[in-house]
Symmetry: C2
Subunit: 296 residues, 2 copies
C-alpha cells in the first residue's frame, strides 16, 4: 500500500494506491496558508486515508509540493502560494505528526513519475503547463533531479531576444509564452480557467481565439522540441492545469510540431508529433506519482 499527497495552491489531494499504481482511496481538503497549517492539513489527509484504507499502514508518505525542493533535507524554497517559509522543515514536521517517513519532492517530479506509471512509459519528458512552465524528466526509469534539483527548469530558458521581460529577471523566457499565465494575458477567462475559455471559444468558431490558440500551441511545441533535442525522451507528456482542456491541447501542439517539421527533414526524422502524449486529465497524476516517490 502506497500513500501520496499532491499539495497545490488551492487543494491537497491524497491517494492510497497499490504497488501496481491502482487507485484504492482518495481524500481532498482545501489548502491553508503557512507551514504549520499546511502540515496540519496534510496530516489530516493522511489520517483520513488511513481510515479509508482500513488500518494504520503507510509507514512512508510521498509528497509533491510546488517550489524548489531540497530532497535530501525535506525542505522547500519559493513555495510562495502556500506561504511556507524558505527552509521550513516540512518532512520532519509532517513525519513527527503522522509517525510516517515523509519523502518530499517537487510537484512536477511527482507528476512525471505518476504519468510514467499511468502511461506505462519508462522514458519521458513531462511538461507541467500551469501558471508557469516546468519540465520533469524520467530517463530510463529514473527521475533526473539534477545536481542542484534544477533539472527541468526550462521555463527560464530565453527563446526570443525581442520577447517580454520575465519575473526571473531575464528577457524572452519560454515561460512568458508557453504557460497558463501566457494564455491568461492574451485571453482572460472571465471566471473560467483561461485555457478552457480559449479552447472553448476557438471550438465555437472564434477566428481570433483560434489564432491565439495556435500561437500558444506553437510555443508549447517549442518546449517539446527543446526537451526532445536535449535529452531525446521516448515520449513527451503534456500535463499541468492547462492540460485539463484535454485531447484538444495534444492535437493543437501535434499540429504545430508537424508544421515546424515541414521545413526541416532533420526534425521530421525525429517524429516529435508522434511522440506526444496527454497526461490522463481524469486521474490524480501528481498524487499517484507522490505515492510512487515513497516506494522508491
Amino acid at each position: 500500500m502506497l500513500m501520496g499527497l499532491d499539495i497545490g495552491g488551492t487543494k491537497i489531494l491524497g491517494v492510497v494506491a497499490s504497488v501496481e499504481g491502482d487507485l484504492l482511496a482518495s481524500v481532498r481538503v482545501a489548502s491553508p496558508t503557512g507551514g504549520d497549517q499546511v502540515v496540519a492539513s496534510a496530516a489530516e489527509v493522511v489520517e483520513k486515508l488511513r481510515a479509508a484504507a482500513g488500518g494504520p499502514g503507510a509507514g512512508v508518505v510521498g509528497v509533491g509540493i510546488p517550489g524548489l525542493v531540497d530532497v535530501e533535507h525535506g525542505t522547500v524554497r519559493h513555495a510562495v502560494n502556500l506561504g511556507v517559509a524558505d527552509g521550513y522543515p516540512f518532512s520532519e514536521r509532517l513525519g513527527a505528526v503522522t509517525g510516517a517517513r515523509v519523502v518530499l519532492d517537487n510537484d512536477a517530479n511527482a507528476a512525471a513519475l505518476g504519468a510514467a506509471a499511468l502511461l506505462g512509459e519508462r522514458d519521458l519528458g513531462y511538461l507541467s503547463l500551469g501558471t508557469g512552465l516546468a519540465a520533469a524528466l524520467v530517463l530510463d526509469g529514473v527521475l533526473r533531479r539534477g545536481s542542484r534539483n534544477a533539472a527541468g527548469e526550462i521555463g527560464h530558458i530565453p527563446v526570443d531576444p525581442a520577447g517580454p521581460r520575465c519575473e526571473c529577471g531575464q528577457v524572452g523566457c519560454l515561460e512568458t509564452v508557453a504557460s497558463g499565465s501566457a494564455i491568461a494575458t492574451l485571453w482572460p477567462g472571465d471566471g473560467q480557467p483561461a485555457a478552457q475559455a480559449l479552447f472553448d471559444a476557438a471550438a465555437a468558431g472564434s477566428v481570433e481565439a483560434a489564432a491565439v490558440r495556435d500561437r500558444f500551441a506553437a510555443r508549447v511545441a517549442d518546449a517539446v522540441r527543446l526537451v526532445a533535442l536535449t535529452v531525446d525522451p521516448a515520449v513527451v507528456v503534456l500535463g499541468g492545469g492547462v492540460a485539463q482542456v484535454g485531447e484538444r491541447l495534444r492535437v493543437a501542439v501535434a499540429h504545430a510540431l508537424a508544421e515546424q517539421a515541414a521545413a526541416s527533414p532533420f526534425l521530421r526524422s525525429l517524429d516529435l508529433a508522434g511522440r506526444l502524449r496527454l497526461a490522463p486529465p481524469d486521474r490524480p497524476v501528481a498524487a499517484l506519482g507522490a505515492a510512487l516517490l515513497g516506494a522508491s
Copy 2:
C-alpha cells in the same frame, strides 16, 4: 588495456590506455574518403597500436565518428565529411579486418566520456564547439544517448525568431551563432583556424575582435544555460575544435554567464560560471573516451 579511435574529417587518432585512463600509446594517420578507405586506415591504426603496445591485445576497439550513429547496429548516417555512405556497416567491416569487437558511437559522446574520465567528473554536459554545435551528456556516470540517439542535438534548437536560416531548415538555431562556423563568418581566419585568429586579435588589442569574441561567448553561454536548465549537470565542459584556444575561451564564456546572471537572482543561485570547465586542450579527449566506450 583499452583501445580507442577518434575518426575526424582530417585525421584518425588512435590511443591505447590503461583501464584507469592513462595514455600508453597513440598513432595518427590522415583521414581518407569513402567507407572502405576509412575502414582500411582505421585498421592500420589498430595494427600500429597493437605493435606499439607490444602484443595482439585489444579484443575490443571503441570508435568515435561524426554523424548520427546507430549504436546497436554499428552504422552511421550523415558522416558527410568522411564520404561514408548512409548505413555503411562500419563496425562489422572494421571488426572483420581487425578481429576485434568494434563499439561505434558519436564523436561527441566519446569526447564526453573522455572528458568525464580526465576531469574526474561523473555528471557533465559536454559542448562540442566544432564546425557545428552538439552536446553530449554523462548523467550520474551513464552516457545519455536518448531514445533515437538524438540526445544533445541542441545546435538545432531555435533561440532567435529573427536569426539566420539554418541548414537544417529551421530559423535562428543555436548552431548558427554558437559554433566554429559562426566565428568563421564573422572573423575569417586567413589560413589559421577562425577561433584562434579571433582570440589572438582580441588579445592583441583589436576592439572589433574583442566585440565579436564577447558576442560569440554570450551565445556559447546561452548553450551552457540551456543544458544547465534542462538536465542540470554538475559541470559543463567546453570542448571541440574551438576549445583549442584554451583557457581564454572558458574565461570569456564564464564572464558572459556572470553578466547574464547579474539581472537574475534565479540564475545567480545556480552558479553556472563556477560550473564551467575546459576540456584539456593537450589531451586526446575523444580517442580516450572511445577507448572507454569499448570498456563498457
